[in-house]
């Protein structure tokens, strides 16, 4: 392993959207066993610095490959495609309409303190996310960057909404 390798190379897994999460975790732990700063607490400052750099790098690579959206974004970047997640907010109109409806449902559930409805909303969301993730994976593997980027942006949108449901749940608890 060295600092110039990309995330996939570090873990020795193929550069594609579907990764074997068990193999990834196994390799991650093997690498951390070698480089983690706990192994070098009594070592020279030079080794401690190298160890922190490598362990940080391994963590970064693992976090990125573990989460599908981060993995997708990373694949796009490796292909030199800028997904413009911060700047480009264009979405298909039917997607936006569905989200608007969903937002109204969330607001109504919060206003009514309806816990059950919040839980239901969050599982509906998960079903949609899973379907969209499947599509994203196929688009990435087909190197259909434009449509993959569009799917990723929609998934990012859903992820944010899911966080809002979480904080609404938290709000109802207090």
């Amino acid at each position: 392993m060295n600092l110039k390798q990309n995330h996939f190379e570090i873990f020795g897994v193929p550069e594609e959207f579907d990764v074997d999460l068990d193999a990834l975790e196994k390799r991650y732990l093997e690498l951390q066993r070698e480089v983690h700063p706990d192994r070098f607490a009594a070592a020279s400052k030079a080794e401690q610095r190298v160890s922190m750099q490598l362990a940080t790098r391994v963590n970064e690579a693992y976090e990125t490959l573990k989460y599908p959206l981060d993995r997708a974004e990373y694949l796009l970047r490796l292909a030199d495609v800028d997904p413009e997640l911060e700047t480009n907010t264009a979405m298909p109109p039917e997607f936006l309409a569905a989200q608007l409806e969903r937002r109204e449902a969330l607001e109504a559930a919060v206003a009514a303190g309806d816990w059950e409805r919040l839980i239901a909303l969050s599982s509906e969301l998960r079903v949609e996310e899973d379907a969209l993730l499947g599509r994203l994976g196929r688009q990435l593997d087909a190197r259909d960057w434009d449509n993959a980027t569009a799917s990723l942006r929609q998934l990012k949108f859903l992820e944010k909404f899911s966080e809002e449901i979480d904080s609404a749940e938290e709000g109802l608890e207090t």
Partner: protein, 623 residues
């Protein structure tokens, strides 16, 4: 030692090379020190056989300091100069201190951290904590019969950067080599997991004297992986005492009481609380300084009712951590109870109901944190035993970010990221010719900066003047394995490494530590300089041994001119070891460290490659 660990992770040093290391639980109410002796982690008792050292420090007008039981007994008599629960004030400003008005102390509001006025002058919480640590260090060195090579100090998982930094500073001030700050629930999980050879997902419910933590860990094949952590750094057994104290004031119909009586009633309240652990009712009795008697009968159900909101408050972080770990209560295989306050029967009941299973209490909740910390300290000091091959992966508890336009906090590293972790963000200038930029670093989950904790303000200077928006400034956040943050910045278009001025708003600056060390030096009997020289010598000897062994096993990785540089740096260290000039020795050691850095990196690569090649072959064979 270290260099050997790459090629032979299981190797343990010869007994005479064992380095003495301890785990310290620096608690709100009590502190403990533990060490691994003959392969078993044990709490080190004082001369009277007591393991727990009350975290109470009394400052006498003549400059003497009393720590522990004797100080605790003086609390009611000398409340202003006898400091208890100082952990609550670590890295905290006056406005953050709960119940300050009910506390007997004379707080001094100072920038960053609150201070306390005592008979021996104004003390910062870092100094008070250092006095507790010093007492534990003395106990450990006496029991173990030698100087300590290092210590692991535990902190609540939910401690923020300022509180961690303050704890590390206290360790330094007490003359300890702090090997690692370890999260308390993680320490407990190590002790529990190694003791029970457990596998699965565990929740650690840690209710101490002043802090509450909840961590979710996955234990599998020797890996302790923290999935999520949540908590409340201002919730603990003390709050239950305080509720009871308020109840006593109300029911005994007494008005405002003196600081002495406050202390007295708080102690009676705590005693009553402890009695209720094994009885259905108890007496709360005390005689005030006015001669007025207080005598009340308290039942367990009264107590449960008056502290119901506190119990409910512990369940909020439990839900949050589960949500962050994407788990439901029934996904948890066991709940480990830690901290003296978890002895309260109604806490046990609430936890059992929430998780749908009785919690695990098979290790002493007062000792388990120190025991786990000692195991970690022993391994970190380089005393890893054969077959002891576990790995700990911990997380940061709170998101780190910076202030952006409109007073909003932008997260750069999200909470529950596995450490060590680094993230970078790019910024630009908004004015033509702008050469400086202020960066405000904050920690917390809220959107508004004013609701987060301010960690420090950084100023970036010498940006080359350009038109607005042309400069590209990369700000890098690095969190180390202690959970401590450092920030660096660089202007990318011209490649200028810009200077960053760090003004810590919490914790002691290095200059301040030096000052306090100097002051303690003035009336300390042991010669600090001699001690420092001895420590530098040990470090230098270890480095020489490690370098020689590395050259022996991996000498083929170095080119001739690099070898010459290393050899000359080695010779210099050896020569300095003969003398008594500590600074010259330290300079030679860091020169050797610098000279071996590229070599260390290549050795690490080789170690990793070796480890992975071996396993790749296995993996192919399996397929």
């Amino acid at each position: 030692m270290s260099l050997m660990q790459i090629s032979e992770p299981g190797q343990s040093p010869e007994p005479h090379q064992r380095r003495l290391a301890v785990g310290i639980d620096l608690g709100t109410t009590n502190s403990l020190v533990a060490a691994v002796r003959n392969g078993i982690s044990v709490v080190l008792p004082d001369q009277d056989g007591q393991g727990l050292l009350p975290s109470v420090v009394r400052y006498l007008p003549d400059g003497h300091t009393v720590v522990g039981h004797e100080a605790e007994l003086a609390q009611a008599r000398d409340p202003k100069s006898t400091i208890a629960s100082v952990k609550r004030y670590m890295g905290r400003g006056l406005k953050d201190v709960a119940h300050a008005e009910n506390s007997p102390y004379d707080f001094v509001d100072s920038p960053g951290m609150v201070q306390l006025r005592t008979a021996a002058g104004v003390k910062s919480p870092v100094e008070v904590s250092a006095d507790i640590l010093r007492a534990l260090r003395a106990r450990a060195e006496e029991t173990l019969g030698g100087d300590l090579a290092g210590a692991v100090i535990t902190v609540p998982a939910y401690f923020d950067d300022a509180q961690r930094q303050a704890t590390k500073d206290a360790g330094k001030l007490a003359g300890l080599n702090v090997l690692r700050l370890l999260n308390e629930p993680t320490a407990a999980a190590i002790a529990y997991g190694l003791d029970n050879a457990s596998e699965g997902t565990f929740a650690v419910f840690d209710l101490g004297g002043g802090t509450f933590d909840l961590s979710i860990l996955k234990l599998s094949r020797g890996v302790f992986e923290v999935l999520a952590t949540a908590g409340d750094t201002a919730l603990g057994g003390d709050d239950f005492d305080h509720r009871l104290y308020c109840w006593a004031l109300e029911h005994a119909r007494i008005g405002p009481v003196s600081p002495t009586d406050t202390r007295l009633l708080m102690l009676s309240a705590r005693e009553a609380k402890e009695n209720l652990t094994s009885h259905a009712s108890t007496q709360l009795a005390a005689t005030l300084s006015t001669g007025e008697p207080v005598e009340l009968t308290l039942t367990a159900s009264d107590f449960a009712a008056m502290t119901e909101t506190l119990v409910a408050k512990t369940l909020q972080p439990v839900r949050k951590a589960l949500r962050d770990a994407k788990l439901a209560p029934h996904d948890v295989d066991g709940v480990v109870m830690v901290g003296g306050a978890t002895r309260m029967p109604h806490i046990q009941k609430a936890v059992a109901e929430f998780f749908g299973m009785p919690p695990l209490n098979n290790l002493d909740p007062d000792q388990v944190v120190a025991l786990g910390a000692a195991v970690q300290a022993n391994v970190l000091a380089g005393n890893r035993a054969d077959g002891e091959d576990w790995l700990l992966l911990d997380v940061i508890p709170l998101s780190l970010g910076i202030e952006t336009m409109g007073g909003l906090a932008e997260k750069i590293i999200p909470r529950n990221s596995t450490i060590p972790v680094a993230r970078a963000q790019e910024f630009t200038t908004f004015k033509d010719g702008q050469t400086a930029m202020a960066i405000h670093v904050v920690q917390g989950e809220r959107e508004k900066v004013s609701d987060c904790r301010s960690l420090g303000r950084f100023e970036l200077h010498h940006i080359p003047p350009m038109v607005a928006g042309a400069a590209r400034i990369r700000v890098q956040f690095q969190v180390d394995a202690d959970g401590l943050l450092s920030v660096s910045a660089r202007e990318l278009t011209r490649g200028v490494e810009a200077a960053i001025a760090v003004k810590p708003s919490y914790g002691l600056g290095d200059a301040e530590i030096a000052r306090v060390l100097e002051e303690s030096h003035a009336h300390a009997a042991d010669d600090m300089e001699a001690r420092a020289l001895a420590e530098s010598r040990v470090e230098a000897e270890q480095l020489v041994a490690a370098t020689e062994s590395a050259l022996g096993s991996d000498g083929d990785l170095i080119r001739a001119e690099e070898r010459a540089r290393i050899d000359s740096a080695l010779a210099d260290v050896r020569q300095r070891l003969q003398g008594v000039d500590r600074r010259a020795l330290a300079a030679a050691v860091s020169a050797l460290n610098r000279a071996t850095e590229p070599f260390a990196a290549r050795r690490m690569d080789r170690g990793v490659a070796r480890a992975l090649t071996g396993r790749k072959v296995d993996a192919i064979a399996e397929d």
